[in-house]
């Protein structure tokens, strides 16, 4: 088992390298570079300014090695190798713009705001996105388990059928549209019940501690609903299927034959055996939630990781795009690995060699 995990961890290296090469190539080969975006605001003006601007663009491109061949740029991105023109020493870029490379965990700085370190910014953003995703996961599990159990025990009942139909309908609702519809319903357009944008009110800083958290909670309701409804639909369906299968097992019949109450049979014997496969689905949901954050954070204007990625795309912040790609790829890989490991832990019949 340990060997298996180690091997999988080792496989992460070529995988991440492959992904980074593909994305790096994609964003660098595409026409138009960050210099153009950064200096586009100064385009108009007298010839003096124009020449100045050209000079700035040239210097900018030189500093970030944008004028170098692609492979050099990539190797430079990887680590502190001395490949640039004379200004680039071993440990990173020119003197005022050190670059240590991705291999030592340096995600670099933004182009537009050169003093902002992406690593720090990403941590800030993840502090918003990850709790939001976690809350949503917890919510969807807390709802999915009872729904799944109930509908498997009372198969064919009115509640089972309605919940199945409703969840199947929900599963087809596009996330961004769900967000918009929630905003329409709960926002100023109709009921005016909840704030629909951002995480805080404008005057949140003046509020007391309790009021601050209430305000935050109110802002979180709609994004969490939006995050969790699809996974709720998926999970409760899986839960129902799993429970139905478990309930037809021999040991359940045995438990019943022993004279145990139905409650004990369902909640102790059956639930234990069908809940664990559902837990492993967590690993599959995690990366989807990270991807979904781009949409949801854009709809609800939440300053999280997804919003950061979106802005990075628009501004051609190469380093931001690469950072987001690598982080989400890492999360995907770890998610898959975790799910495989939990499967093995749960079911000793599965062996890895």
């Amino acid at each position: 088992m340990l060997q298996y995990i180690l091997r999988r961890l080792l496989w992460m290296i070529p995988t991440l390298l492959g992904i980074s090469i593909v994305v790096f190539g994609l964003i660098h080969l595409a026409p138009g570079d960050p210099a153009a975006v950064k200096f586009s605001g100064m385009a108009s003006g007298e010839s003096q300014v124009g020449a100045n601007e050209e000079d700035m663009i040239r210097k900018f491109r030189e500093r970030h090695l944008l004028d170098q061949p692609l492979w050099k740029q990539y190797v430079h991105y990887l680590g502190p190798f001395n490949l640039g023109p004379k200004g680039h020493s071993w440990f990173g870029g020119s003197g005022d713009d050190p670059w240590n490379g991705i291999l030592v965990g340096d995600l670099g700085n933004e182009f537009r705001r050169p003093t902002v370190e992406i690593a720090g910014e990403v941590v800030q953003r993840l502090k918003v996105t990850v709790p939001l995703a976690l809350i949503s996961i917890v919510v969807s599990y807390l709802l999915a388990l009872p729904i799944g159990i109930y509908s498997s025990v009372r198969r064919g009942s009115v509640l089972d059928v309605t919940s199945a139909v409703l969840l199947f309908l929900l599963y087809a609702v596009p996330t961004f549209w769900a967000g918009l519809m929630l905003q329409l319903l709960f926002g100023k357009g109709m009921w005016d019940l909840l704030p629909v944008l951002g995480l805080h009110d404008k005057d949140a800083d003046d509020l007391g501690r309790v009021a601050y958290w209430i305000d935050l909670g109110k802002h979180l309701i709609l994004p969490v609903v939006c995050y969790s409804y699809a996974s709720l639909a998926y999970l409760s369906r899986q839960m129902r299927v799993g429970m139905v299968e478990t309930m037809s097992q021999d040991y359940i019949r045995t438990a019943r034959a022993k004279g145990l109450s139905e409650k004990v049979v369902v909640l102790k014997h059956a639930l234990r055996n069908s809940v664990i496969p559902i837990l492993t689905l967590l690993a599959a949901i995690l990366p989807i939630l990270v991807g979904g954050s781009i949409i949801i954070e854009s709809v609800f204007d939440i300053p999280g990781m997804g919003k950061y990625a979106y802005e990075g795309l628009l501004l051609r912040e190469y380093n931001v795009i690469m950072a987001v790609t690598l982080i989400s790829a890492l999360m995907t890989i770890v998610g898959i690995l975790l799910s495989d490991i939990t499967y093995a832990l749960v079911d000793p019949r599965i062996r890895y060699d």
């Binding site: 994609l26 549209w177 329409l184 781009i294 790609t325 790829a329």
Partner: protein, 586 residues
Amino acid sequence: MTESQGAENLLADGVPADQEYSKDYWDNVFEQLGKRPLVKMALAVLALLYGSGIYAPLIANDRPYLLEAIDKKEYSDARKGLAGVAGSLSELAAKDEATFRREREALGVETTQTYLEAARSECDGMILRIDAMLKYLPAERHGPLDELAADVEGVFASLEGGDRAAAQSAATGVVERAREIRSTYKAEDVQLESVTSLPVLESTTTTEIFFMVLWAFILGWPVWNRMVNRILLKGDRERIRENRKTKVAAVLGTSLVCAFLWSVLVGGSMTFETSYFKERLTNGDIEAERVVYPPLRMGFAETHMAEAFRPPTWKDYAEINEEGYYVRGPRVPEPDPVTGHIRDAQPVDVRYGEPETNSFLRHPLGTDQMGRDLLVRLFYGARISLAVGLISTVLLVVIGVVIGSIAGYMGGLTDILLSRLIEIVQCFPAFFLIITAVAMIPEKTLHPIYTIIFFIAIVRWTGVARLVRGEFLRLKEQEFAVAARALGLSTWRIIFRHVLPNALGPVLVAAAFSVAAGILTESAISFLGLGIKHPIPSWGSLINESRDYEHWWIQIFPGILIFVTVFCYNLVGEGIRDALDPRMKV
């Protein structure tokens, strides 16, 4: 529900129910699917949705189906221009080639046109104008114009022959004749005849015709398939089975032939020299005798600036008075508190054939920021949204099936390598990669539609590949595969002709779900403002046009269509899964 057709007791496909036959794989699948009314309904809804996209130009268009009219403007422009062009032709005939070249140089005109070519283009100008007039003239008034045309050709012939004197005199004659025609052929003086044209058909492309015919076959499938089975194939199972491919080929062939015939007969012709039919009909340039309009009389890019963001017209607060102000509700203009000035408004521009300003049919689903009709744009948007889902799925299924079957059948090192590839691609953050590609690759290099299709296929084929690989591992040691090998068939033949058809069921299920996923992905990207923008919208980009809660119609209606489509595909996927094997889970 499939039987009981009177005394004969036929199945849905026209075969006697009691007929004994051995079912093959697809017989079973179709039979199972036939038992599911929900799946049938979902398929019907999908067929209608695709149909609404394919037939969008027939449903909603700013061109009429049929127009019997006189383009007065075209006629009188041609008549007035005639003398002028004749004049310049005779001027040209008066010069010799050297003078012509010197003058061109003096003017500083950079041109490679030779003397003769210049003469030809003047002559063509004449002929064009003469033809434009002839189009509307009754036969008895053709005489002088035909002669004029002959004279023009005569001028050119003499110029070509190098006989400049003859050309000059002929050209003088042309000028005189043209002047005469100009004064005697005024539109008021002659009885003009209207010309019949089919503007919608003329503006349709060959591809559109192909899909229109194809879709007619698909929509009519339940009817004609039954008839063909009963009458031509006499309800014989074996023959029906054998002729499945023939039917598909016949349908595709007929559609292709129709498209080809259309491109030969109609392609590129335009009876009226305009693409702004409504404008010219409204301002009287075209005098119409008979106009037949499509049910919705607005183009997908036709703007009504005065009606920007107008709510659906069945809402009472969508009412606009004659000056262009809203009468009721939140959009009634309020005077500025300081100056007392009321924001200017334009009166609504009601063009030819359009419903009245406050008719509830005018904009049943409201308009966008440029006053374009949302309902019309939804019809056209269906084209992009549905096509992206379907084409990307076809691509990813092809990639997945090829890689999966090779890995599964070959085994060994090939399998290991391909499986590693699958594992690596699975780790790609799919949605973000697609978004990145769309944001980075500019429209000029690759249109966002293709970028989206292509990248969806690239990152999402792994699911299909794994499925197919698994099926192959299961199937390749079964008797029929072993027998095929023992017969010495080639590997490719065994893979694609023997094993693959038996592994396609799960692939079909995965395909149905991935069409849904593709549509969702495209709409999300377009919603973020990165994907498809213009000229034809997609459902996602329609929603992106406003996120203001006051413009609720823009957000609600396209979303409903996305939802319905995805829902139907999910239903179909579930249905096929159950039909294949009630216990199978993908």
